[in-house]
Symmetry: C2
Amino acid sequence: MRKLTIKDVAKHAGVSTATISRVLNGSGYVSEDVRRQVLASVKELNYRPNAIARSLKQEKSRSIGMILPDMSNPYFMTIARTIQQRLVAEGYRLLFMDSDENPDKEREALDALLSNRVEGLLLAGTGGNKEQLRQLIGSGIPVVLVDRCVPGVSADLVMEDNRGPVRQAMEYLVSAGHRHIGMIHGPKTISTALERYEAAVRALQEAGLQVGEEYVYSGDFSRKSGKQAIQKLMKLPVPPTAVFSANNEMTFGLYLGLQEMGIGLDEVEVVSFGDLDFSSLFKHRLSVIMQHPESIGDSAASILLDKLLHQKSAMENRIIIPKFVQKNKLSL
Amino acid sequence: MRKLTIKDVAKHAGVSTATISRVLNGSGYVSEDVRRQVLASVKELNYRPNAIARSLKQEKSRSIGMILPDMSNPYFMTIARTIQQRLVAEGYRLLFMDSDENPDKEREALDALLSNRVEGLLLAGTGGNKEQLRQLIGSGIPVVLVDRCVPGVSADLVMEDNRGPVRQAMEYLVSAGHRHIGMIHGPKTISTALERYEAAVRALQEAGLQVGEEYVYSGDFSRKSGKQAIQKLMKLPVPPTAVFSANNEMTFGLYLGLQEMGIGLDEVEVVSFGDLDFSSLFKHRLSVIMQHPESIGDSAASILLDKLLHQKSAMENRIIIPKFVQKNKLSL
DNA sequence: ATTAAATGTGTAAACGTTAACCTATCATGA
DNA sequence: TCATGATAGGTTAACGTTTACACATTTAAT
């Protein structure tokens, strides 16, 4: 059973291929009689137009590419899902690629997407591939940076404020009496990681607190690195009484690490950038900076669709402000 | 800056388009000199072949479709991610669609994927669209059912054993002294839900326990329905002392529900089909049936690739056995 | 020296659509 | 009556590749 083409349908319905195309696309004039006959033939033969041929002819792929660093991180998947829904509703399809926080993989993914002639790009980038990115944007394809900016690359951008809430959080920790605060950060090549790091250090310094080298651990945003971090921190001569973890996965790792070491999850007060989903069930001293992946996704989709559908060209930057939420506070 | 075609490269390199194609695909004979010249031109012009045109000509899309019920459920995303990695490594791309457990959306997604001429399908189905599915499989396109079977549709299948571990779990609950056991199930149109339900009821009956209607709640695998379920169950004249929840999301909802009602998370013993990710940090009476999304994904990818790459045609069913793990047991 | 096989490259016809361009019919109004 | 525009539908040339075929030229084998 060969795959049917528009010609088969044309033959079956006794009209030309152009007419079939017109019926199926609702373009041009077609008499009601012919219309019905064509639809009947389509149904009878179970014909399905070839989207690939259509894309080629129309020179538009109706697809959008998205690169995200970690498909198993619910934060990014929530963004992705929101975007997908919006795009599908407008007749686009979304191609996801997972860069795994790896610039080389990111580059490959980018190549693949461009070969597929995506009409737009959503990028939660690794911070590498700057040159390629600049070139891309120069070439006119709409690119929206999502969650992370790429220094030196100016493009549309939707991200969260990574400084304000961190400052708040640090002030809270200091006012709660902590003098030894551990910090678990992400790779400084990633904008979110860098911003959170800088904001945290500065806030503590301004509060008159020295931040010792040994209290700062540089992780990679993975669960594993969060675990390693806390295990190192807790072995210090004077272990921290509070820890700031720069993303949700590392926070998770932090708790796994504590547990593995047999340390009570309550023995250290934690502030996490990014919620943990189950944190509301958690009876420990955990405060979180609540992110808004749906808002991020929604804004990113809107910006992209504006360019695609209404050829808006102004560059836009939207900053969403995450909320510092002091949860599950127990007395010290 | 128009998009470059193979003709531009041909002109630039002073050869025919066929030669460019041959160099880029490593097919046919090309002299080393010409080869170098072509590659130089490609690089200089920054040419990128049009995958759409290639697909059309070759009559193969190099893409695989996948429909999953819930992109924000980590269980399915882990499966998806595993599969994506395997497929990308073989030069395919994976198109995800989210059916949202809704047969109509599923149908639309299926249509979209077929229009895009996917060469294979991975399906964690809703249980609707049987007729269309049968037709699809009859048409020769490789279809692998993932996680869920569809009764009345015979196709390749990778799923977990939904009965054995449930039986074990029920036996455990009975032997632990529970006489009133609540059950929160999924929609019976979904095979996993039905199987877990039947296995649970049968096991209890065989253990000599009556299962009262009022202890069985029919949810929809969503967090929200888990919450509603537990809230209803706990209001019974004789509330259950243990609850079996048929998937991870509903288990989560269950705990949210308990919390909202101000009931201690320990006041009821829980068995969850599907792990909760954070369950190891959880100090409550929670046992889980541990699933193996990576294995599922891996097997599904293998089966599909065997058909695609080695035209294997034998139908295969693989059953992964989840493990019942008694965790965080406290004395009653 | 002759032939056959291997190597190198170009020409042009597909792949399945869409859309520009035609032609033809039929109302409508001046 | 005749032009005009709306309606209806067919022909055909693209879109950017790949590849079958053709034609040289070189190499190897007899």
